[in-house]
Symmetry: C2
Subunit: 230 residues, 2 copies
Amino acid sequence: MEVAVAPSLSRRERERLARREAMLDAALSVFAEKGYVGASVDEIAERAEFGKGTIYNYFPDGKDELFLTLFEERVAAGLHRVIESSFDGADLSAPAAARKTFHGFIRLLLHYFEESRGPLLMFMKEGHRTKIAVEQEVQFARHFAGIIDALAAPIEQAVAAGALRPLPAHPVAHVLMGNVRAYLMAEVDADCDSSGTLPPTPFGSADEAAEFLTTVLFDGLLSPDSAPDA
Amino acid sequence: MEVAVAPSLSRRERERLARREAMLDAALSVFAEKGYVGASVDEIAERAEFGKGTIYNYFPDGKDELFLTLFEERVAAGLHRVIESSFDGADLSAPAAARKTFHGFIRLLLHYFEESRGPLLMFMKEGHRTKIAVEQEVQFARHFAGIIDALAAPIEQAVAAGALRPLPAHPVAHVLMGNVRAYLMAEVDADCDSSGTLPPTPFGSADEAAEFLTTVLFDGLLSPDSAPDA
DNA sequence: TCCGCAAGTGACCGGCCAGTCACTTTCCGA
DNA sequence: TCGGAAAGTGACTGGCCGGTCACTTGCGGA
């Protein structure tokens, strides 16, 4: 994961940054593979090719801090980027335009998921983990809330413009993310299934899934020939 | 959790059954409180008022077996009951009737969740846990698939009758469950929030939430005055 | 070249817990 | 009432892992 670094940093600082990133990379791969509990700091250190103690030089609070940092710097930040780039200056004034904008968002989101499968899944599975310090639980909740908020803003806007039904924006945002989560989870089950094929693949490609989710969410499940709601 | 027991069982067998249930009750309360990893067999034994060894008499595979059994006998079975009672002989021939039937299902489901909050949440959080024997992971996946299948049947039927859009039933079932899950998760976050109030309560009561989810899913998010999809 | 310090290291410690098994208690039929 | 089998028990073991800290390494300035 290459990140543009301000050239003002000294070589020492740059190297420190790079080592930090390497540790996060290693932590991410171990977490993604074994989950939070299954991951051991020893293995993270080994995979990063550092001594265990060095990890604690960079992340004094150890495992918890690695986990939270990964969520903040990689996952939450990535989601915010997707939201921002999808809705920045987008047209939400009319139903058709809103549909198109949100369709684009869902597509982008699914593609983002595809390329960051491991980390995303891990946090989908473990983001609401029990047995975590209450203080940290609140941190996670805050991040989730931030993502929901960011997504609620354009929804609110579209509702205000009359493009969407007059529904409360936050619940809608929850539902939107919930659907995407459902897609991801279904993919996981299908994956794990590769050994003993039990259920058929539920969704198609990311693009097809985006189409599908957009239809369900925006057009609704009912046949269009039905009378509008009572 | 009282269960009607066939009177043909001897007292010994009945007592054994009762003890088994007591152990499952205790396990459920501990799992719900601390999650799978945080729960210890010692604590389950203590709460059930049995020695630890006795637990292993009843559940030779220990913690894993308790967890899986709880999921099978309590959660999955409960969900199947909800699905069955909602759709058995229900009218799915026309859009309005289908909407009403599914609305009833969602309502029932949310009420069921309300009364079995702990166990359900626990499995929502931990059902896809990593770091579990592959063999067991498959078992869980199978149960989830079974629930999805059971739900896909009436959807299929409604689609065939022309009441719903011609969408594939399994993905729709996934989405439906995903939405309900989103509702649950949001409730959890709001709960945990009671200490440091960060986000506002997202959904209202169970009935209101059922209304909301039904509207979103069946009528769609777009304003009704929009032209039907291209 | 050499010195001192920042950085890196991994053996070790303490706590935790799943699962075992030799022992005790309870039950029931003779 | 008694004896043996079935059921129950919890101290114990082995393994794991997060976090520590005394030691080593190597870098950069003098």
